[in-house]
Amino acid sequence: MESGIALQLGQTLLAVLAAPLLLGWVNACRAWLANRRAPSLLLPYRNLRRLFHKDVVLAPHASALFRVAPYVIFAAMVLAAGIVPTLINDLPFSPAADAIALVGLFAVARVFQALAAMDVGTSFGTLGARREMLVAFLAEPALLMVFFTGSLIAKSTALPTIVEVFAHQQFAIYPSLAFAAVAFWMVSTAENARIPVDNPTTHLELTMIHEAMILEYSGRHLALIEWAVALKLFTYSTLGIALFLPWGIAPVGDWMGLPLVLVALTLKLLAGGFALALLETLNAKLRLFRVPEFLGTAFLLAVLGMLVHFLLERP
């Protein structure tokens, strides 16, 4: 039991520490694909250190919520990173939340982000919060549907059971997961504020969604939020790996396989980060009013995956 807890802590710590590296890798890939010289892979770490050393500047009428929100967001993301099976399946922390509660956890972070953005009362913050909520309420049902497709196959909403069924039982091709995977990619671009829904590197306030919400933050608050953004990307990547490419996640109590698991995870994350950068380079940012259509398509694809499951995969 103690060893399980140690491993759980190790996995969470790995996620927290490696998350900025994944973000750096995606940025580097994007730069290469655009024929630019890539920034250092460690740039996100340097940014975080710089921000932690700076003083916090608060607006005079910022309430306690504004100051608490970064900690809540960061804590929610750390919790989520601990729940998703990354290295070893079924760690002591995993039963804490199933797939549906995980979606709720992401929603908690988002609600605090939006409330904090409206708290100071600047127009851009409010605008960003409203846009974020528009995107979120369309993305959330689609994400749930993706999870339901996996849950229908595994007959459980618990993530360890889903991974167990996909990775360690007899190999089978599930056509419904092809639909779910496309839908998951579309939803995760919306949730992580990536192209084509949002542009993470934009400096133009009028097109911002996520960036507009954090304009008022500075110092360690901003560092925590940036770190949480990187952590969210990492958690979503490991979630996608757990659902669609789970081979390599070690079963319960498999200690010897750990180095191999780490290698597999690194390779999968490198490939996934490159794929994300490639898709971001190939796509243009959507007009805001095309986003509901984009996410509606994601929802319909996930529903279609469930339908296909009933047609093709029922024993």
């Binding site: 056509p175 092809a178 509606g296 529903v303 296909v308 995969e313």
Partner: protein, 220 residues
Amino acid sequence: MNLPLPLQFVNLLAAALLLIAFALLSQRRIVGLITLFAWQGLALTLSTTLVALYTRQPHLLTSAALTLLLKVIVLPWIFFRLVRRLDMERDVEPVINIPTTMLIGIVLVIFAFNLAQPISALAGTVTRSTLGIAMAVVLISFLTMITRRQAIAQVIGFLAMENGLFFAATSATYGMPLVVELGIALDVLVGVFVLVIFFFQIRETFESLDLRHLERLKER
């Protein structure tokens, strides 16, 4: 789910066919439609080849080769040339907006799956469970035809419908006799040639390929 691996791949390709049918339904650009149509033909070729190899039906290999030649190479090439000649690489707005169309598409899928269930229970082939997907592809392609006003988009919808029918034949009865399939392939080719000639005529008369112009019978 204890199917042998080749048949699991056939199921996956069937799902890909349906996915591409939906992509066709939501596509605004003509060039995108043609590319997707070519991909659909490729998925169809692969699944037919797999079924042919698994069930040892040599005539299915011939029809797979025909599909590859006609629907992946020749027809998309003709369409690409046509688009360049007629200079129409613009977006086309469908009759109903895209989210509504997709919703209707989902309803059609549920309808097709239910409709196919008793039929596939009767069929004795190993691929019978994909019959529902084939019917859904037919209905969705039909919807694609209905919701477009552009002549080329309608023809591509028609050809995608033919893809669905072909897939239905493979999944329900391991394909039609070779003579019939050769005839259909020839018909499709000749049909496209005739339609291409029509396109030029329509464009000559109305200076556009928008079929709304054909709804008026009298000249003002």
